[in-house]
Symmetry: C2
Subunit: 303 residues, 2 copies
Amino acid sequence: MQIALVGIGKIALDQHVPALAASPDWDLAATVSRNGRVPGVEAFSSIDEMLATRQEIGTVSLCLPPVPRLAAAQAVLRAGRHLMLEKPPGATLAEVHALRDMAAAQGVSLFATWHSRMAQAVAAAKAWLVGRTIHEGRITWREDVRKWHPGQDWIFEAGGMGVFDPGINALSILTEILPEPVHLTAAELDVPANRQAPIAARLSLTGGITADFDFRQQGPQTWDMEFLTDAGPIALRMGGNILEIDGVQAEGRNSIMGEYPALYHRMARLVRNGSSDVDLVPMVLVADAFALARRTTADPFEF
Amino acid sequence: MQIALVGIGKIALDQHVPALAASPDWDLAATVSRNGRVPGVEAFSSIDEMLATRQEIGTVSLCLPPVPRLAAAQAVLRAGRHLMLEKPPGATLAEVHALRDMAAAQGVSLFATWHSRMAQAVAAAKAWLVGRTIHEGRITWREDVRKWHPGQDWIFEAGGMGVFDPGINALSILTEILPEPVHLTAAELDVPANRQAPIAARLSLTGGITADFDFRQQGPQTWDMEFLTDAGPIALRMGGNILEIDGVQAEGRNSIMGEYPALYHRMARLVRNGSSDVDLVPMVLVADAFALARRTTADPFEF
């Protein structure tokens, strides 16, 4: 099946393009980007022009930041094409509800992806937790924003989500593997004095679960989830790619390279089945955190 | 049908108790409150005790602020009673999703009320707007917090919602009467330097709609919505109670006393039909506003 990729930046080149190149399901037939391009693939600078010119491309995948993503998503759905969205699927819940309704009305597939849910040990952790009781859980998601988002000022703007840009990955895994739904009971945000979005967040959730998100981590980076259960301790490390049971590695390997191939495999299945996958639970938790949070002003931040 | 009222404060005494006294459907059979009581009605100080002692009371209505409301709501549903909630139905979206699932699992009715949707001119405004095109809309919701919430510090705490406590009433009307769904495109919040929740908010929504919420209004109070349509101007004034078409009053009267009787009438219908009414769209818009907003620090506020 032919697919077009919109937004040829770092994430597209690092993840989407290799995943599509290796896919038995997809043929990367066009790109849309102001600057980026992929050798050997027709490049457009306007999404409307691509949609009008290449009618045979049935599916479009967007790799754009949350705020500009909506107009592109609406153009794709209006043109009757299947649509795959990077996480988070929009800047607001209400706009994603509108996209979901639009996709249903157009009879096309919409996939709001959560790439971390495809990490190599997530399914095993979920299976292991079935029927078990979690006494407490601790999420530690600490990374260096200068390394992963160098110079990306948009991430600290209003609507840019700040540390929830990586933190929502943790929440997407959490809400996938837990046997029971959770909700927030408290949240604290640290917002740099010269920015709008938080550089760190501490969340308390039901079921004894806490989360510590921080964008100021130097040295080793940490993307861990540790749970104490009635059957002993279990941990997911490396962003869901490694499973440890009772301190011993049980599954996975330290690589995120399986996530995007799995997303595109699932998108192919959704298109073939005529179905959609739009689970907004991680985004609901983030919106709830913003609504519920106590804010503290942190030191000014410059890249 | 017998009903218990939990939280006997100002809103309960001003609105719920008179509405129940005049209702052909309901018999106020018990109250639960730390301090308040209603003459001639058995008073409890513990909700669990009331639920255990008065098994014949099938329905419970909660008039508690958003943050303490959840535990009471869970207790009611766990006890297999029908539940009616004041607006907003919780402090977070995820907790209301959990209540909705719990009510469904228990086979009881849950009504997340929006009292302003029952204002006298709302249905007429909705009917008038069917098939019309709105070119622009302006919501002005400006009231004096010292008058309506004297000394209620919780409203300015994290999770207290600040000016969205009245503002969500406007959003509940807006999302009831508009022919099309809307979503936020931008939001600005003014947060007093010594508080956590906003004292004023300015929202931009799709369809050319703006909202101006302010808690610092002195003198005349304003709860207006004005729309410019392809069929001329239409306005809702007095919090949805008066409809003006082309500047001339067409419907309603300046009284909010019909809202709670209408809510209890609807609750009776839901219980008899075995159905629920949990529309979270106004709450989604507020959560989106918190997530999307640019914040400005305003002067410190003391009651």
